[in-house]
């Protein structure tokens, strides 16, 4: 159907970004194909060591899912995207396919090593999240392709993550965000780590140096500071109404440190609640 409608047709996967863009005439699709009437595209299930999330699963459904809660970083993200109204309509597949540099899901899914199952005329293919986003608002999807499913590998024992985003108020996109996933050998020794930053580059920034400061190391306060410093150095933000370059880089440093502390506490089995933070109400 998408192929028949041509390149200017777009998929409506909730509309919480696309409809505002259309009102501003920043998007002028020739036709919309609404996936909201395909209820079987919304699901969360555990299968073959993966959590499989249907593309049309609303953020609110992930927020409320006991299955998704087994991977707390998913809850951190889902529970804080925009506000209740937007979470009731917006979908994970829509967010991933849009690839807005300020989107919340991409940094989290990169930290988790997730995959995206894409569906096109020639069938289904699975693309690693790290290869899925090519540029700002640009993915490997062709005009007649869809996201069908997000596949998150179930983290190993002693593996835990956290996502913290800072935004000025609930309905807006974050100023900066940090997704951290650590896999511990024991209480102190870190076997593996991933640090991914949102909003501070045209695509999510995989802070490899920050992860290297943790991987194969005993996690001391010094190692945490080194990782936060490395993440700050990796951030490449644009100055805008949300803040200057320096402000955003300092924000990244704080967010990474705090997300890391939350992830480490969770890896020890502690219950920690983090999510988006904003001033005001």
């Amino acid at each position: 159907m998408l192929a028949a409608l041509g390149e200017e047709a777009k998929v409506l996967a909730g509309g919480q970004s696309l409809i505002p863009l259309m009102k501003l005439r920043l998007a002028r699709p020739s036709a919309l194909v609404d996936l909201g009437h395909v209820p079987e595209a919304a699901y969360i299930e555990r299968k073959d060591g993966h959590l499989r999330i249907g593309a049309m699963t609303r953020h609110a459904a992930i927020e409320e899912s006991a299955e998704a809660a087994r991977i707390p970083i998913l809850h951190d993200c889902a529970a804080g995207i925009a506000d209740a109204q937007v979470r009731n309509m917006g979908t994970i597949g829509g967010s991933v396919a849009e690839a807005d540099p300020h989107g919340d899901w991409a940094p989290v899914l990169l930290a988790l090593g997730a995959e995206v199952e894409c569906l096109g005329k020639s069938g289904a293919r699975t693309v690693r999240m790290s290869e899925f986003i090519r540029d700002a608002f640009t993915t490997v999807l062709g005009p007649a392709d869809l996201v069908r499913e997000i596949r998150v590998p179930m983290p190993a024992a002693r593996s835990a993550g956290a996502y913290i985003a800072f935004k000025r108020c609930a309905p807006v996109y974050p100023t900066a965000s940090a997704a951290v996933q650590v896999t511990m050998e024991d209480e102190d020794f870190c076997r593996d780590a991933r640090v991914v930053l949102g909003c501070v580059g045209l695509t999510p920034v995989v802070a490899a140096e920050a992860a290297a400061a943790l991987r194969g190391q005993a996690i001391t306060p010094h190692a945490i500071e080194r990782a936060a410093d490395a993440a700050m150095a990796a951030a490449d933000p644009q100055p805008d109404v949300r803040g200057s370059v320096d402000y955003k880089r300092l924000l990244v440093r704080v967010l990474v440190r705090r997300a890391l502390l939350a992830a480490l506490a969770r890896a020890r089995g502690e219950h920690v609640e983090v999510s988006h933070e904003y001033v005001g109400r």
């Binding site: 409506l12 509309g15 919480q16 409809i19 505002p20 009102k23 020739s30 036709a31 919309l32 609404d34 909201g36 009437h37 609110a60 925009a82 506000d83 209740a84 109204q85 937007v86 009731n88 309509m89 108020c169 609930a170 309905p171 807006v172 904003y278 109400r281």
Partner: protein
């Protein structure tokens, strides 16, 4: 679309009554409610998915009707502020907002009422943090929110201190 003004038929149950209307596919849910059904209690505030004045319930969930196409609600159930009152009796949330004066100019109030309805359906006795999160998608430029919190606590059966 072959023609820009091609119309489609939607069937949406609004406040318990099935409404069947031919609309342009581009029609927003809030336009459908206000202009086609004359249910003007739902307000358009910012029209940019920010302020929440247009909040209605779609299949029991609060959504911003300025950011939902009417065709997305096809086959669904919508409740607007006009649907809160039952048999001439105000809903508990409306009573509480009146009693606690949870409003000043009143423009944002329909949206707050609908978000509160959705919040209390999910969380009958919310903590202050849950109230804060529940209404974070609604903006009031008058009250400073104190009396709105009071009203929500009262509607939930707590002390409206």
């Amino acid at each position: 679309m072959s023609a820009d003004n091609a119309r489609v038929r939607v069937r949406i149950t609004v406040n318990g009554a099935l409404r069947e209307v031919e609309i342009e596919p581009r029609r927003l849910l809030v336009e459908f409610l206000r202009d086609d059904l004359d249910l003007t209690g739902t307000h358009i505030g910012c029209d940019t998915t920010f302020c929440g004045a247009c909040t209605v319930l779609l299949n029991g969930k609060n959504v911003k009707s300025c950011t939902v196409l009417a065709v997305q609600a096809d086959g669904g159930e919508v409740t607007t502020v006009e649907g809160l009152e039952q048999d001439g009796k105000l809903d508990a949330v409306q009573e509480a907002f009146a009693e606690c004066h949870g409003l000043q100019c009143g423009y944002c109030t329909p949206g707050f009422l609908m978000s509160t309805r959705a919040l209390l359906a999910r969380t009958p006795h919310p903590s202050d943090a849950q109230i804060r999160k529940g209404i974070a998608g609604n903006t009031c430029r008058c009250t400073g929110y104190q009396n709105i919190f009071k009203a929500i606590r009262t509607a939930a059966g707590g002390a409206g201190k």
